[in-house]
Every structure is written in C-alpha cells, then in structure tokens.
C-alpha cells in the first residue's frame, strides 16, 4: 500500500514538473497591453531618473519582465517599411519635445501597429512597454535615448 502511494506521488510530481516545464518552454513574452505596469511615470520623470542615477534607474526600470507606463507628448512617428517579403511594417513612437535633449523611443509591438497610425504629433499619449535601456551614443554624436520595446498604446 505504502509502495503504491509513493509511486503515485512520484508520478504526480513528474507530471506536474513536466507540465510546468512545458508551460515555461512555451511561455509567451509579456503582453504589455494587458499587464499591470510596475512603474507609472511621465517621460520627464523617467529621463530625470536616468540622468540623476543611471545605475539605479537601470536596475529599477530596465527589465524584460517589468512593464513601464509612460505618459508623454508624441513628438514623431517613425515608420519602417518591410525590407524583405513576409515582414510587416513597424512603427516607432518618439516621445518628447523639440527642446528636450533626451527622447523616449517606443518600438511598437506588431499587434498594435494599426493604433499607432491614428496618432498626431503633439498630442499626449500613454505608452506601456519593456524598457531595454538608456543609450547615450557616446561615439556617434547623437542625443541620448531611453528605448522601449513591445510597446502598446494605452491611451491618447
């Protein structure tokens, strides 16, 4: 009886482990549109955080698992035409103002590219995405950017 019970428990544990491994293996990246953001702030606040303490801001905001919500002004929409067959058009929202040195660049998730085309530069937007880092482009002579990927448009 005990032996059968032990075997049953081991089998159940193996099945649970296998199920967990299968789910983890096939886990999709976080859906930024539906996720609850771990941080909600304005573009100005985010830039100030990186300029004041880049290491601390990187630890706090740059993570593949955490969704950050940014409220800012839409400066420009950049459209990338497909370069190969099978590719889709991709969009990047650039947040900021002309007199602000640091921009926030939001590479839109392909699922949400249609929403991006209804936007008008100059209007306020709320974008949620994964912060991939702060690039200062030291050798390129360009203004720095805070970069986001897998972005979704929450609100105009």
């Amino acid at each position: 009886m005990n032996k059968r019970l032990v075997v049953s428990i081991v089998v159940v544990l193996i099945l649970v482990a296998a199920f967990y491994a299968y789910r983890e293996y096939n886990r999709a990246p976080v859906n930024t549109a539906n996720a609850t953001p771990t941080a909600v702030l304005t573009g100005v606040e985010l830039i100030a955080a990186f300029e004041k303490d880049e290491t601390g801001a990187t630890k706090r905001y740059v993570s593949l698992d955490n969704v950050v919500s940014i409220q800012d002004t839409l400066l420009k929409i950049k459209t990338n035409k497909p370069s190969q067959p099978g590719e889709k058009e991709s969009y990047m929202l650039i947040l900021g103002t002309r007199n602000r040195k640091v921009s926030i660049r939001c590479s839109m998730d392909t699922t949400f590219s249609t929403a991006a085309t209804t936007l008008t530069p100059g209007e306020p937007v709320i974008v949620q995405g994964i912060c991939s880092g702060y690039n200062k482009y030291e050798d390129l002579g360009l203004d720095p950017d805070i970069v986001f990927v897998r972005c979704s448009l929450v609100k105009k």
């Binding site: 886990r27 990246p29 990338n80 360009l142």
Partner: protein, 185 residues
C-alpha cells in the same frame, strides 16, 4: 551668359559636395539575429528594431549601436536565456560596430541607384571586439539611404558559450542581417 553658366556650375558642384559631406542616420534600424542549428526544428531567431546607425557619406565611416535587451523573441524563455546566459546583457548592455565602406568612392549619394559595397570594421559584442568584413548594398532613393548587409559571426569568438545540451538547436555561428533606412542628420 557666361556669368550665369558659371553660377549654375558652382551651384551644382556645391550641391554635390554638400551631399557627399552629409551624414545620414537612423535610430530605428533593423537587425535580424539567427542562430538556428542545421536540422533544428526550433528556430532560434530574434529581431531588433531599435538599431542606431550613422553613416558619413564623405568618408564612408559607418557606425552601429544597439541595446541587447531590445532583441525580441517569440518565446520568453529563449529571450531570458539569450540575455542572462548567452550575452549577459546586464553586464554588456550594448553591441557596437565601427567600420568603413571600403569602396565608398564608388557610391554616388546624390544619384538614385543601387551600389554594392564592402564594409570592414570592428564588432564589439559580449565585451569582445573582432574584425568583421561584410558585403552589402546601399540604395540611394532621393534623401533616403537604404543599407543592407548580411554576415556571420562565430559565437565562440565573442565568448558566447553554447551548452552541449542545446547544440542541436543553437548553432555555433549566428547570421546577422542588417537593414537600415537612413535620413539626413
């Protein structure tokens, strides 16, 4: 009449010189990364749509900069392994390329057309820097310069360790495809 002719010629010459002296750039270039092993049923590939590129038309100097965490995968676990185990993006957050178009004098940035080019330079990835040479194409379309290239890198050159357990899926060599549409800086 001679004065007008002289003025027109000067204007054309200045226009050509200006175009050649221009810098072009993008911050939304695309790089496709593919390290799928031969016969692997699973694709090991990622896309980065936030690549920065600056091209100096006068000298042919070309530079790329990108954040490793901007590579997106279809599977989260693959992206986690790419960042945490393979490229250690917390320690080495960026990849950079600094190079020159070897046959830049053969590219007329003022005239629409396709130009085959060779680019030579240094690629810095995972804290390691190595020489890379690649063929590519520059397509001039008015004020827009489209660049494309494809080359391979040996992951071990950049101290990227591929565990034996996944060697049937992850190739020792990764193919990098670059596609950037540059505008005037």
């Amino acid at each position: 009449m001679m004065k007008n002719f002289f003025l027109i010629c000067t204007g054309i010459l200045l226009g050509c010189t200006t175009a050649q002296a221009q810098k072009f750039y993008t911050k939304s270039g695309r790089i496709d990364f593919n390290a799928t092993a031969v016969n692997s049923l699973e694709k090991i590939e990622a896309v980065n749509n936030t690549v920065t590129c600056v091209l100096d038309a006068a000298t042919g100097a070309i530079q790329f900069s990108l954040l490793i965490k901007s590579f997106t995968f279809e599977r989260a676990l693959m992206q986690d392994h790419f960042n945490e185990n393979y490229l250690e993006s917390d320690t080495y957050p960026k990849a950079e390329f600094k190079g020159t178009i070897s046959n830049n004098s053969g590219v007329d940035y003022t005239k629409d057309g396709d130009y085959a080019v060779t680019v030579t330079g240094k690629l810095t990835l995972h804290g390691q820097t190595h020489d890379v040479t690649s063929t590519g194409k520059i397509s001039v379309q008015g004020d827009i310069i489209n660049t494309s290239a494809s080359f391979s890198v040996l992951l071990s050159d950049y101290k990227v360790q591929v565990p034996a357990l996944v060697s049937d899926k992850v190739s020792k060599t990764a193919t990098i495809k670059v596609a950037c549409s540059l505008e005037t800086l």
